[in-house]
């Protein structure tokens, strides 16, 4: 059987032209340099999980420093060597930990791990395509990502340590190698790694867009696509329009660092010595960076929202409330995400009028976000809810989206932000609304589509344990930070509890650190469940969640090319759950209206008069029959 990336269901001879279908699959072509979208999705997922665990361990390290600033942990010196002399974290290494934690979580886990996994897995499966538009580019995308990951982690093994200027790498700190150890070789490698990462994201994203627009199966018009696909599609568009700007900014930064230009640098003294650079503007970096940086948070969040829509509708056994509103709110978020970047820069001496403009655009984002929240709640309302682990995580996302989103309204207001800027309030805000929410969306997707990836089910009991521990600890970790921020505690400080006005927060730090450790330990339940179930989990049926979408019509064996015969045709939208008059509580998208005469509604025919006439005839006959029976 061919593995051809063909979407035309009438073409039967798709083996003759294919260039890698005929030699036998070896370990290398099947598991390593695979061009099958399902395998690439799994590669992204497992790399993302590994990176996520590493970034989580980094966060535990700096949490321990924050809770016990005076204590020495000999184990640290054993593990970290001179990054923790005498068992206490080096202040520069602390900054590196914060930087790399942020970088890995935002880019490597929640961008590549989330989009990379689920876009790759679901776009061809839910749209009815044999593979991506360019399977080769898809493979390239993964290997760029893998190389970027390796380079990013390799910076822990160089003498000056990893980059330390924060994940936003603001110049001049990031541009002047002499300014701190973390701005030396570690920063150079950070830039190399991120350049590869952006290349990976762009190659992947371009492929997703092209596949969604060109390779849908027969009958799958845009308004019959599941919301997952809408969110992956719009996420890829956001990435396509914002990542190149980061590359432009990084190229200029590299010129400043390595060639001595002055794009971002001016009037700088390092250790009493004036630098030759003159005339540059560090604010320029902020403009260019946040033009990517803000859309990036929606790149992180939107796939999670899409996954949640799908999981909530399936497990509430109800059609998603306001399908069109869901799509338009995603489009609204996509458009607005490009005109709000200035709200990260209220304290840069920005013209207050311009600040006001950015404030208004920022607050408008609350509208589509609220539409989505209300629609999730309305979908859950009076549903026959099945509390699968995936469903719990999806509901968890809604919870974090609300509690984290509310503080966004505080921070979007320039007058309040000037007070709260760079405090723990910001840390609390984005860890809830984009960190926890997005990771819960991702975990929800993992539990839900695990059978599609590995043909087996994950253990539900361990899933519940994982959910409750993670959910509770996430709130215990991030909620107290709001109060610290309101008190003016600055983020990224090595030991702010040394300040007399802030030393009362030490007890809260201890509490937060132990909550974080609880959350980290809870992930063991997930990791065990995930890796154990790959090999020994309960075998899955073809459609374990009784879902309507197309991916569950593929065989459990996950063959190359996805469907053994012709690709199925689509006849209806993806949310026909609990449709009145039908015998089961879900109707797959592949079921024609002619087979569901008892449940068809007038609007199902989309103005097709012939079909309406046939339905009316059937209705007339059917009503008569029922009367005769009576």
């Amino acid at each position: 059987m061919a593995t051809a990336a063909i979407h035309n269901p009438t073409a039967t001879h798709h083996d003759e032209h294919h260039d890698h279908a005929h030699h036998h699959e070896t370990f290398l072509t099947k598991y390593v340099f695979s061009q099958d979208h399902k395998m690439i999705a799994k590669q992204f997922l497992i790399t993302g999980i590994v990176m996520g665990v590493i970034a989580m361990i980094l966060s535990i390290l700096f949490r321990i420093q924050l809770a016990y600033p005076d204590q020495s942990f000999p184990l640290f010196e054993v593990l970290l060597g001179k990054f923790a002399p005498e068992g206490r974290l080096d202040p520069n290494f602390y900054l590196s930990l914060v930087t790399i934690h942020g970088t890995i979580m935002v880019f490597f886990v929640l961008t590549a791990g989330l989009s990379g996994t689920f876009s790759n897995l679901l776009i061809p499966l839910q749209l009815g395509a044999r593979d991506m538009a360019s399977p080769f580019m898809n493979m390239l995308s993964y290997w760029f990502f893998f190389t970027a990951s390796v380079i990013m982690l390799s910076t822990f093994f160089i003498e000056s340590g990893p980059a330390g200027a924060g994940w936003t790498i603001y110049p001049p700190l990031s541009a002047v190698a002499k300014s701190m150890p973390g701005s030396g070789l570690g920063m150079t490698l950070w830039l190399v790694s991120m350049t590869l990462f952006v290349a990976s994201s762009l190659i992947g994203g371009i492929n997703y867009i092209s596949t969604v627009l060109n390779m849908r199966t027969k009958g799958m018009d845009l308004w019959k696509m599941p919301l997952t696909i809408w969110s992956f599609f719009l996420t890829a568009i956001v990435g396509l329009l914002s990542f190149p700007v980061l590359v432009a900014a990084v190229v200029l930064l590299i010129f400043d660092r390595s060639f001595g230009t002055s794009f971002y640098l001016s009037d700088i003294y390092v250790a009493g010595q004036a630098l030759p650079n003159e005339g540059g503007s560090p604010i320029l970096w902020q403009h260019l960076f946040w033009f990517l940086g803000h859309p990036e948070v929606y790149i992180v969040l939107m796939p999670a929202l899409g996954i949640t829509s799908e999981v909530i509708a399936t497990n509430a056994r109800k059609p998603i409330f306001g399908y069109h509103a869901m799509v338009y709110s995603l489009i609204g978020i996509t458009v607005l995400s490009f005109i709000v970047w200035g709200h990260h820069m209220f304290v840069t001496g920005m013209n207050p009028f311009l600040g006001g403009v950015f404030m208004i655009t920022t607050l408008i984002i609350a509208v589509p976000s609220a539409v989505k929240t209300f629609n999730y709640l309305a979908t859950l309302w009076k549903g026959n809810i099945r509390f699968t682990p995936a469903m719990l995580f999806a509901i968890g996302l809604v919870s974090f989206f609300i509690s984290g989103g509310l503080t966004g309204i505080f921070l979007g207001n320039a007058a309040l932000d000037i007070n709260l800027h760079d405090t723990y309030f910001v840390v609390a805000h984005f860890h809830l609304v984009m960190g926890s929410a997005a990771i819960f969306g991702m975990l929800s997707g993992i539990y839900h589509w695990f059978p599609k990836m590995f043909g087996r089910l994950m253990n539900a009991k361990l899933g519940y344990l994982h959910f409750w521990l993670t959910f509770i600890s996430a709130y215990l970790v991030f909620f107290p930070m709001h109060f610290m921020g309101l008190d003016g505690v600055p983020r990224r400080y090595y030991s702010f509890t040394e300040f007399e006005s802030m030393n009362e927060w030490l007890s809260v730090n201890v509490f937060v650190t132990w909550a974080a450790i609880l959350g980290a330990v809870a992930q063991v339940a997930f990791l065990w469940n995930f890796f154990y179930s790959i090999f020994f989990g309960e075998k899955s049926t073809q459609n374990p969640w009784e879902s309507t979408t197309l991916e569950w019509t593929t065989p459990v064996e996950r063959i190359h090319g996805n469907w053994p015969g012709e690709i199925p045709t689509i006849y209806r939208w993806p949310y026909d759950y609990s449709k009145p008059g039908h015998s089961t509580d879900f109707i797959p998208q592949t079921t024609p209206l002619s087979e569901t005469m008892s449940s068809n509604m007038p609007h199902d025919f989309e103005g097709n008069e012939e079909a309406e006439r046939i339905q009316e005839e059937w209705n007339a006959k059917n009503v008569n029959n029922t009367e005769e029976v009576k």
Binding site: H7, N8, L202, T211, L213, V247, S262, G279, S281, L284
Partner: protein
């Protein structure tokens, strides 16, 4: 034509062509980012404007690249008419003109450095000009590689649908880098 369309479907070419368009969009955004960086920078204060005349060489390089677009288009038309000898001639000409363009850009840099207008400059608008031209040359190099693949496939005995497809990709991308340069040049002239 019906047959050709089927072939295009069979080789999955339509989505691949679309990928090329999307790549160009990302490239446009990249340069839009750079040029808006220029605007933000030069709007910042006195003495931060482009106060040196652009090298004359840039006018001639513009003419060269426009000419190369013409030869490229001719090669494309000849391929459609199945005149493969002319296709190769057109591609070789385009390749040559592309290389001449790079040489002239580098010559333009040397004119400036001889005047003492260096890349490393306290007026970053000058550095921007070097950066724009350098990053554009990288795109030109990518274009040359695509032209070379089109050339190789024109010498091989490949199905014509593949040959024509590679030709189309090469021609789309080459016109794009041409227009990109004209945009950058006009942008710099307007900000002089």
């Amino acid at each position: 034509m019906q047959n050709l369309n089927k072939e295009v479907d069979r080789y999955n070419l339509q989505p691949k062509k679309f990928i090329m368009w999307l790549f160009m969009i990302s490239s446009i955004i990249f340069f839009a980012g750079l040029t808006s960086g220029f605007i933000v920078y030069s709007g910042d204060g006195v003495g931060k404007t482009l106060n040196v005349a652009l090298p004359q060489a840039f006018i001639y390089s513009t003419l060269v690249i426009v000419l190369s677009s013409a030869t490229m288009h001719w090669a494309y038309l000849q391929t459609k008419r199945l005149k493969f000898g002319n296709q190769r001639l057109g591609l070789w000409l385009t390749l040559l003109l592309g290389i001449v363009f790079i040489v002239m850009q580098v010559y333009g840099w040397s004119v400036w450095t001889n005047l003492g207008v260096f890349f490393i400059n306290s007026n970053a608008t000058i550095s921007f000009v070097y950066a724009f031209t350098f990053l554009h040359i990288i795109h030109i190099l990518a274009g040359l590689i695509i032209i070379i693949t089109a050339l190789i496939s024109s010498y091989k005995k490949l199905p014509n649908v593949i040959n024509l497809f590679r030709m189309e990709i090469a021609s789309i991308f080459w016109h794009f880098v041409d227009i990109l340069w004209i945009y950058l040049y006009v942008f710099l002239l307007l900000n002089q």
